[in-house]
Symmetry: C2
Subunit: 371 residues, 2 copies
Amino acid sequence: MPATISDVPTPSFLVDFDKVKKNAQKMIDTCERLGVQLRPHMKTHKTVELGTLMTNGTKRTIEVSTLEEAEFYARNGFDDILYAHPLIAARIERCKSLAYKLKAFHVMIESFHGLIALLSCPLKNGKKWSIYLEIDDGSGRSGVPWESDDVIKLAKEASESPYIDFQGLYLFNGRTYEAKGTRGIENANKEGTDLLQTLHKRFTDNNIDCRTLAIGNTPSCSRPHESMNVLTEFHPGNYIFYDMQQATIGSCSSDDIACRLTTRIIGHKPSHNIFLIDCGFLALSYDGMAEHPDEFSTFLDHPDLKVIGFSQEIGKVTTKSGDKLNYDKYPIGSQLFIFPWHSCATACQHTVFYVHSGNNITDMWTPAKGW
Amino acid sequence: MPATISDVPTPSFLVDFDKVKKNAQKMIDTCERLGVQLRPHMKTHKTVELGTLMTNGTKRTIEVSTLEEAEFYARNGFDDILYAHPLIAARIERCKSLAYKLKAFHVMIESFHGLIALLSCPLKNGKKWSIYLEIDDGSGRSGVPWESDDVIKLAKEASESPYIDFQGLYLFNGRTYEAKGTRGIENANKEGTDLLQTLHKRFTDNNIDCRTLAIGNTPSCSRPHESMNVLTEFHPGNYIFYDMQQATIGSCSSDDIACRLTTRIIGHKPSHNIFLIDCGFLALSYDGMAEHPDEFSTFLDHPDLKVIGFSQEIGKVTTKSGDKLNYDKYPIGSQLFIFPWHSCATACQHTVFYVHSGNNITDMWTPAKGW
């Protein structure tokens, strides 16, 4: 294991342990205060260590985005796992194994295809399929359109089946990603909460039992509106690392960002006013580059730098201002640190995370990979 | 192992064995005809199996883009490996191990920093550092500007050092990526070859021994100009898979593309004229999306479809024409195949490749990962 941050090979993904601990605790406190169950999403990091931290050591009540993740966490002693991806028939066999293995394994549906797949393959030995119904608030993500008749039909059919344990509703609440600042997110949260309550009332009117009202995403849960105490579950994920996208939205301050990429300068190109770094698209990912060219690669202590182009293993860096680079300030071989635009996208590119406290490397974590 | 393509989990990366075999053989034949040494790049796939195929079973004379790849191939019996990335001092120790372990291990430099790093750390027991000098033809990639005085200074200092075995020159020849069609690429190749020959003459005039004149990239080596028989080495990589980018440039026909992503439809969104697939940015990569929205996700047998948006695990598909989707034609659960814009970027997202001959899965390959 490298001794300090300066000894880590480049490019590498660094996790600030003191900051992830603080981010994890803050979300636990928020959920306790509001009286909602925290079901943190693992897709951002896919590690046992952060899953343990985010669940306050219980290893219970998590959410994942792939079956590979579900199987990885199940193997590592986690229970009460929600597989939060529209279910299709082709995945039933792997889901069945998880349902039998775990005390609680939940799937998410958003169509009759998913429901029929489950009903065609009932579980045995008193086990039931436990399902969440995903709602689309109109933004066109996965989920049943919230005002449609299908929401009621699907929920009714599910809740009345002897083979299914109907949990309730999940909303991603995409409007928080359009919001700006704490107040904007809080307002978007109020709207999302109202929407879920309206739907809950329709369920009650139709005699549908719905125990769970869950809301997702990092802005929602980082800047909750007090009215969200009527909800039962929070499903945030990215808050463990945060990133430039979340700082721009207002979910966090840039000081809360708990991950960064480290890279080294490998060449000078005065003819093009750039220098080269050993961080290509493979290490950082393209996420945010097209839409947020000035923020998607924010350099620690060098606010005027940005990446303007990539090959697989090399990045081209210039100034945001258009000023001439002072190459004496950036000798070949020197180490730099980049805050990613989207930490989920960047973390997923790495097979090991270097964990540090201050400058010292304290651990190396191995995330799950694949599908 | 899944029996057929229909049984493969989604999303997955598929490799058409008959096509990679044909692509590998064609490049071997091209190099034999022109009398140049083929040094295929492994960065596209990073597998033992394709490395073996591309070297005609010899497992000799390859090129890699990371030290992790170099170590992976060295562990798996490969020799004569060029680590084709601008060398910096921080990597010397790992390079030293490889230099001692292998019969031939070459590094690439493009600056005095790299040269000084090598000279500060000479090898023992009669071993010398074997180096290639990378040339920039003016496009601003890595490499010493080809008309500069530094090219001569670096080559002279390297070739006169008793600790260094100076191989010669490598040019990426970026202008082939700006070319269009066979004729355009051939012309760009002639220009690149002339440039290397001009530089070679400067070397001769300065009494610098230069045995190797190497040219890289897939368009160059797929559509070579006959004048390239004066060169000594070809360094292509992507030709083993090809992709939509190479087909657009004219390096191959779309029928030569030997890899594809398989995905399934997981939801319908008539309100937005889209359907959802279980292929997010993590499985396909963003490479090409911003610049080539209509080509970066070309669907086999469905030329009017394209991906217009991504989350980590979900893609949104609509029509290129703007026509209404016929949802009866695309039931939830059905399997689709996508040719990626850039096969290197897509392959690198996967921890396993499913190999097929016709519809039958014949093998599963595990690529190297990380840095």
